[in-house]
Amino acid sequence: MIRFEQVGKRYSNGHVGLHEISFRVPRGEIMFVTGHSGAGKSTLLRLILAMERPTSGKLLLGGQDVSRISTAQIPFLRRQIGVVFQNHQLLDDRSVFENVALPMQILGLPKADIAYRVEAALDRVNLKEKAEDRPSDLSTGQQQRVGIARAVVHRPALLLADEPTGNLDPRLASEIMSVFEDINRLGTTVLIASHDLALIARMRHRMITLQRGRIIADREENA
């Protein structure tokens, strides 16, 4: 599903985000990327989303070379990826329903399909009754669940999450991680960047550890 082949990222100021790293994430896997701040976790996700271009190597996503994708193709690449952010990135001037519907409106799906899928997605994260609320009326945990519903509503092949539990207490963080596992069980490849080692340790999934832009550990299953 995801293949990094000697992917490096060097910024114009000389800072190296990633040092020619290589790894593969098979389809349907759930994987954690961990490391301290500045280790390169966010850079890695930004490269997959084509928010940045690698300065060397090859990044393949489902066979498509993301490192050489044209600017015009980037939106179509992103439509295949669901993204969950630490700060949720919800739009406060829209209702929960409208926030979740956004990716499907962009896809140009019929109104009836959108309504059906949004309701289903909100139901799955137990927020159906909050559909007409504004995100600012919800708790942090609920906001994150809205973010997850928005990320998966259009049935992406890949789900990326950047520090999705960063602002949550341990109980809510575990709950959110369970949601990711549920999504993964249905076949979606999930890649989660997190520095919460205690939480990751409780989950039996593959984990790669980054340090200063290098992979220093790649454990198939952390026990």
Binding site: M51, R78, L91, L102, L109, R124, L158, L186, G187, T188
Partner: protein
């Protein structure tokens, strides 16, 4: 929460451009649904833009008013010039060619010649002033009526006043030359200096209106561009999210284009109203003034087709201004 209820990922795990999954739909239905969704998308963008304008009524109104005033200046000047032209009669009349006929020519010959001239393709009309009429007119206008009555013979020739279609100097000169060669014509006179002055005044007026229009169109584009730029700044976060979840530049641009067009529509309608009101307000004074000169002249209002052109032009300008503003700022709107 049941895992089985969650939305499913792509079975092959390979990114594809189209993520729609309606296996029981046939192709025709899919196209029809896509078209309907596309139209719905545009409708939603239009309604969203309209809602945003209406939710800030004062700001929106004053932006439209500034644009409307800017638009009404060149249009108002153009309408006033049209009215002045109407006041002075047709400009062509100022470029009449006077043909002085032979003293021996009879009135019947004069009529024949007039008819012949009127059939010419570059002549609007020809009017015969007989020798008697010319004398009568001179008696009335010169104040020498009694003295002229003492003359043994009428010394004035018959005159044919020719109104040309064009007021171009070269064409008028050529026409004058042709008319002077007609049998029975003693002399053909054309006040070319006046024609040249008139032509120069007209050209100056046209050029002034054109220059002013260009300048004000540029001003309008700047006004709309700046307004849209502020809207973009206010929605930066939303735009970044839209781009992150796969929105194309076209999708991002669309609501701003509708917003620009709506500003233009408001400005066009306000401009039309301002011109109609302004001309009506001026008209009462003009009618009074004209009445003092024994004329029933009054200013014409804004013709419907001119008003419609003004409104459509304003909508287009709004759309273009918004497009330029979004195109300029789209590069800066990459998700961070």
């Amino acid at each position: 929460m049941s895992a089985n209820d969650l939305p499913r990922g792509d079975e092959e795990g390979t990114p594809q451009r189209n993520t729609r999954e309606r296996p029981d739909d046939n192709e025709h239905q899919d196209h029809s649904a896509s078209l309907s969704a596309y139209a719905e998308n545009h409708r939603a963008s239009l309604m969203d833009s309209l809602h945003r304008l209406v939710s800030h009524p004062f700001g929106s109104f004053f932006t439209c008013l500034v644009m409307g005033i800017t638009l009404s200046l060149p249009m108002g000047l153009s309408l006033l010039l049209g009215n002045v032209e109407r006041l002075g009669g047709s400009w062509q009349r100022a470029a009449q060619i006077s043909l002085f006929l032979d003293l021996k020519a009879s009135e019947a010959q004069g009529q024949d010649l007039r008819e012949q001239i009127e059939k010419m393709p570059d002549v609007i009309e020809a009017q015969l002033i007989s020798r008697d009429d010319a004398l009568k007119e001179l008696q009335e206008q010169s104040g020498l009526g009694e003295a002229l009555k003492e003359l043994p013979d009428n010394p004035l020739p018959a005159v044919i006043s020719v109104t040309p279609k064009q007021i171009d100097k070269a064409q008028l000169d050529a026409l004058r030359q042709r008319l002077s060669e007609l049998p029975g014509v003693q002399q053909a006179q054309l006040d070319l200096v006046w024609v040249e002055r008139l032509s120069a005044i007209l050209k100056l007026g046209d050029r002034f209106v054109f220059g002013l229009t260009l300048l004000l169109v540029l001003t309008l584009l700047l006004v709309i561009g700046n307004t849209i730029r502020l809207h973009i700044e206010n929605r930066r976060n939303e735009i970044e999210v839209i781009k992150l979840v796969g929105g194309t530049d076209g999708y991002v641009r669309r609501p701003f284009l509708y917003m620009g067009a709506l500003y233009g529509l408001g400005a066009g309608i306000l401009s039309w109203a301002l011109l109609a009101f302004g001309l009506d307000w001026l008209n009462s004074s003009v009618v009074n003034l004209a009445g003092l000169y024994g004329s029933d002249f009054g200013l014409a209002g804004v013709p419907v087709d001119d008003g419609l052109s003004l409104t459509v032009g304003a909508v287009l300008l709004g759309w273009i201004g918004a497009w330029l503003a979004v195109a300029r700022h789209l590069r800066e709107l990459a998700p961070r």
